[in-house]
Structures are given as structure tokens and as C-alpha cells.
């Protein structure tokens, strides 16, 4: 490669990198990560995709880049472990297999590997811990009661099999903390301290819990009831991010900032003027209209909002019943036009469109629209500074 080519490449990457810092959006991150892949910088592409997914966990473009980069490094290991699971099965092999599936983002396959292990080795705590971790991650992200209940069940089984499993006690404490059951949280943190008394962060957290005067949702005793109440209300009594073990992997759904409604309205109008777009509606969590647009050829404003609400409700219910998590996007293709309904950061956004627009493009436009108009806490602070 000539010096001129190297310089061009460096400039290109610097421009894209500057864009993800100044105007972070799924498409900006996606373009940057894809360009890194094209230049053969696989590790950097993976890092960029992971960083982007922390803010935009539902971006399919970033998920594909991450999968591509990870597959290259993990395919050999995966093949070997699959063979070992057939020829020389052991709890360690199944647990490693489940861990690799998780790395690749195939949670269902990870759960299946854990289940196979649990069936073969019922007294081994490993598979239940994997199941508990995955279900807890899903619950903190989607708030689906079933995930929370399964997480509690699996983690409690781990503590029954091995009362000294610190990780299981920490995860149970985190689960009860998010559910607002402070006394159960405190109980498990004390178990952690009895095993590892030097855990300073846990000591401090338990001390802060000790001074708490009241407990939220104290009248609800059963965890299942708490989980169902959370699913109905759409919010946790306490934020998992306040908990000491909470990592920064974006499992609480990415940074949620304040929405700039005025600028959102202006952007919706601009998007509505695009070729192929007939109706747009942006609804808040309560179903109230935040912004909308109609070109007059499609359904009326009220009709379209009803259609979006009904479609989102049916699709979300189906996703939950199928144990595939909460709805991200529904696409209805009909000769009268296509309807895309997106659930992102507590908003329900519907777009009625026709050719030349395509579903994938609409999905990207909607994600960018939300990213542009919601200021994450960190960037808000930076802007003030």
C-alpha cells in the first residue's frame, strides 16, 4: 500500500471516528465498524461494534459486525467443543460451549447447552448459573416476568447445590435489588460477605442498605408477583445500575437520555417529507402522540396511531409468549403499503411507507431519529461543560 493510500485510509477512519463522537447514531457506528472490517482491523471493529451496542443495543448492523468479528476468532473453539460434547461430555465442556454461544450472541443455544448439561449432570451448579445469568440479563433488559422468575429459580438452585457460590449470591442480590426486595438483597449480600469478608464494595453497599428507612413494594412478598408488577408498570423500583456488581455491558438497555420533543417534531416532519413516507407517528409509553406526520394519502392521524398501537401490542405479546424477549420491530407488508412499528427507548414509532423505501432503511432512519433527539446523560453533561 502506498503512502497516499495509507493517508487516505487514515483520513477516512478519522472522519468516521469523529462522526461517532459528535453525532453518535447506529448508522454512524455501523459505518465506522464496517469500514474497519473492510480495512482488516478486525479487533478494532469488534471494539467499535461493542462500544456502539452499549448505546444502541438493538442495532442489527452493529450486531452483524460484532458477530462477524467474533466468529472469526471463536469458530475453531466452537467446533472443538461441539466435538468434545459428543465424544467426551463433561460439565466443563457444556459450560464452555454455553459461554461461547453467549459470546456469539446466541442466547437460545447457550440456554440449550446449559439445559443438556443440567439433564446429564443434575448435581452440577454450572448450567444453572449460566441459565440464571442469561435470564437475569434478559429480565433487566426486557422486564419480562417469566425471565425474572426463571432467573431466580436457577440462581436459587445454584445456592442450594453450593451455598458458597459467591456469583450466584451476588446475582440473586442484584435481582432482588432491582425488584425492590431490599431485605432479600441484604440477606444474599451478607452471604457474600460471610464467604468473602474483604469485599469492600459489598460492605459499603450493605451499610447503605442498613440505613434505608423503608422498603418499596414491601406489601408484595412473592418474587413472581413483584416481577409481574414490574412487567405491567414497565419500570424497576430500583435501578440495577446502582448495584455494585452491575457491569457496563449495556444490559440495562443502554443510556437513556431526555427526549427533545421540539427537535423530534422537526425531525419527524423532515422524515415525513422523504420519498415513499406516507405516515409517521411517535407515541410515548402511555400511547400519547409526541409527534406525527401524514401526507394525506394514507390513513388519518388518529387511524394510524390506532393501527400502530394495536400492531405493537399484538407483536409484543407474541414475542413474549414465544420467549423471544420484548418487541424491537414489527414489519407488516401489504399491497396498500408497508407498516414498520418500532419500540425504542420507551417510544413506539410507526411508519407507513411504500417503494422505493425498504424496511431495513426505515429501521435505520428511526433509530437515528431517536438517537439524534435523546441526549444521553453523559453527553448532556459534556454539552453543559
Amino acid at each position: 500500500m502506498s503512502i497516499a493510500d495509507k493517508l487516505r485510509r487514515w483520513r477516512d477512519l478519522a472522519r468516521l471516528k469523529a462522526r461517532v463522537r459528535s453525532e453518535p447514531s447506529p448508522s454512524a457506528w455501523g459505518e465506522y465498524a464496517e469500514r474497519l472490517i473492510a480495512f482488516g482491523e478486525i479487533d478494532e471493529a469488534l471494539a467499535a461494534a461493542e462500544e456502539g451496542m452499549r448505546s444502541f443495543p438493538d442495532s442489527e448492523r452493529l450486531a452483524q459486525v460484532k458477530l462477524f468479528a467474533k466468529k472469526r476468532s471463536l469458530t475453531g473453539q466452537l467446533r472443538k467443543l461441539r466435538e468434545d460434547a459428543q465424544r467426551r461430555p463433561s460439565p466443563v465442556v457444556f459450560t464452555q460451549l454455553a459461554a461461547i454461544y453467549r459470546e456469539l450472541g446466541s442466547q437460545d443455544e447457550a440456554l440449550e447447552a446449559a439445559q443438556q448439561c443440567a439433564d446429564r449432570y443434575p448435581l452440577n451448579e454450572g448450567p444453572h448459573l449460566v441459565t440464571g445469568e442469561i435470564r437475569l440479563e434478559r429480565w433487566l433488559r426486557d422486564m419480562i416476568a417469566k425471565d425474572g422468575i426463571l432467573a431466580e429459580e436457577a440462581l436459587r438452585r445454584v445456592t442450594r447445590l453450593n451455598g458458597h457460590n459467591v456469583r450466584a449470591h451476588m446475582l440473586l442480590a442484584e435481582l432482588y435489588w432491582a425488584a425492590g426486595d431490599v431485605s432479600a438483597c441484604r440477606r444474599h449480600l451478607r452471604s457474600v460477605l460471610s464467604i468473602t469478608p474483604a469485599a469492600k464494595e459489598v460492605q459499603e453497599f450493605v451499610r447503605s442498605l442498613g440505613s434505608a428507612e423503608t422498603e418499596e413494594n414491601d406489601e408484595i412478598r412473592d418474587f413472581g408477583d413483584r416481577a409481574r408488577a414490574i412487567e405491567e408498570s414497565g419500570g424497576f423500583p430500583r435501578q440495577a445500575s446502582d448495584f455494585p456488581s452491575c457491569d457496563a455491558s449495556g444490559r440495562t438497555g443502554g443510556a437513556r437520555g431526555r427526549l427533545d420533543v421540539e427537535s423530534l417534531r422537526a425531525d419527524v416532519l423532515a422524515l415525513g417529507g422523504g420519498e415513499g413516507v406516507r405516515n409517521i407517528a411517535v407515541l410515548d409509553r402511555d400511547g400519547d402522540i409526541l409527534a406525527d406526520h401524514t401526507d394525506g394519502t394514507g390513513p388519518t392521524r388518529r387511524q394510524f396511531c390506532e393501527l400502530v398501537t394495536a400492531t405493537a401490542s399484538v407483536a409484543d405479546d407474541a414475542s413474549r409468549r414465544m420467549d423471544t424477549g420484548a418487541l424491537v420491530r414489527a414489519e407488516v407488508e401489504s399491497p396498500s403499503g408497508n407498516v414498520t412499528v418500532v419500540r425504542v427507548r420507551g417510544l413506539t414509532i410507526g411508519v407507513l411507507y411504500s417503494a422505493p423505501l425498504r424496511g431495513e432503511r426505515v429501521w435505520e432512519l428511526v433509530q437515528d431519529l431517536v438517537a439524534r433527539n435523546s441526549q444521553a446523560p453523559a453527553s448532556a453533561e459534556a454539552a453543559r461543560a
Partner: protein, 117 residues
């Protein structure tokens, strides 16, 4: 019909597929162990009927395909003439290439003619 579904399930990331009438009666199914036939059929019937009703209510014509993307999986419901083809997939599946396979399977089911139940 099972051979069409079996071929579709060979596509990487497809966890199962079934052909179902709009009332939820299963005509053929090929699902992985993790999926229960009656649960998928009942869910499919609800989605198909509710979506049709919603579209009709707002003066729109019947749908040709519905794609649901959830945080841990994807589902496609494709019109296959007298019935619907339902495909359950992994979250990581790219919808473009798999969509072509789904369309082709739906077309083959449609070409098989009338389905009697």
C-alpha cells in the same frame, strides 16, 4: 409439505417452521426441541387474525408478510395461499437472505394447491 419445511429449517439460524391455517390449525410442522407446536400455532393464529382485523379496520388490504424482531429472536409469517407459513429464527439471522428462502418456501406451499383440514 414437511420436506419444504425441513429444507427451510436447514438454513442456518432457522429454529423451526410450520404451516398453519388462520384459525391456528397446524397442517405441517418441523420445529426444534425448544419450540412447542401448540404454543407457536396459537401465537401465530393470534398475530394473523389480529393484524388482518387491524388492517381491515383502517381500510388497508391483507398483508403478504409480517416480520417480528424481538430482543432474542425473529419470526416471519408469510401468506402461503390457503394457509400461512410461520418461521421462527435466531436473533442473529440476517433477514435478507433468509427472507428469500421463506418466500420461496411459501410459494412452493401455495403451488401445492388446496389444503384440506
Amino acid at each position: 409439505m414437511r420436506s419444504i419445511l425441513k429444507r427451510l429449517n436447514d438454513v442456518v439460524g432457522v429454529k423451526g417452521s410450520l404451516v398453519v391455517t388462520r384459525d391456528g390449525i397446524v397442517i405441517a410442522a418441523h420445529l426444534s426441541r425448544s419450540l412447542q407446536e401448540d404454543v407457536v400455532a396459537a401465537m401465530a393464529a393470534t398475530v394473523i387474525q389480529s393484524t388482518r382485523r387491524n388492517l381491515e379496520k383502517h381500510g388497508m388490504r391483507h398483508f403478504a408478510r409480517i416480520t417480528l424482531v424481538a430482543s432474542h429472536g425473529k419470526m416471519v409469517f408469510a401468506d402461503a395461499g390457503p394457509a400461512f407459513l410461520v418461521v421462527v429464527m435466531d436473533r442473529n439471522v440476517e433477514l435478507g437472505p433468509v427472507g428469500i428462502e421463506v418466500e420461496s418456501a411459501a410459494m412452493r406451499i401455495r403451488n401445492q394447491g388446496t389444503i384440506s383440514v
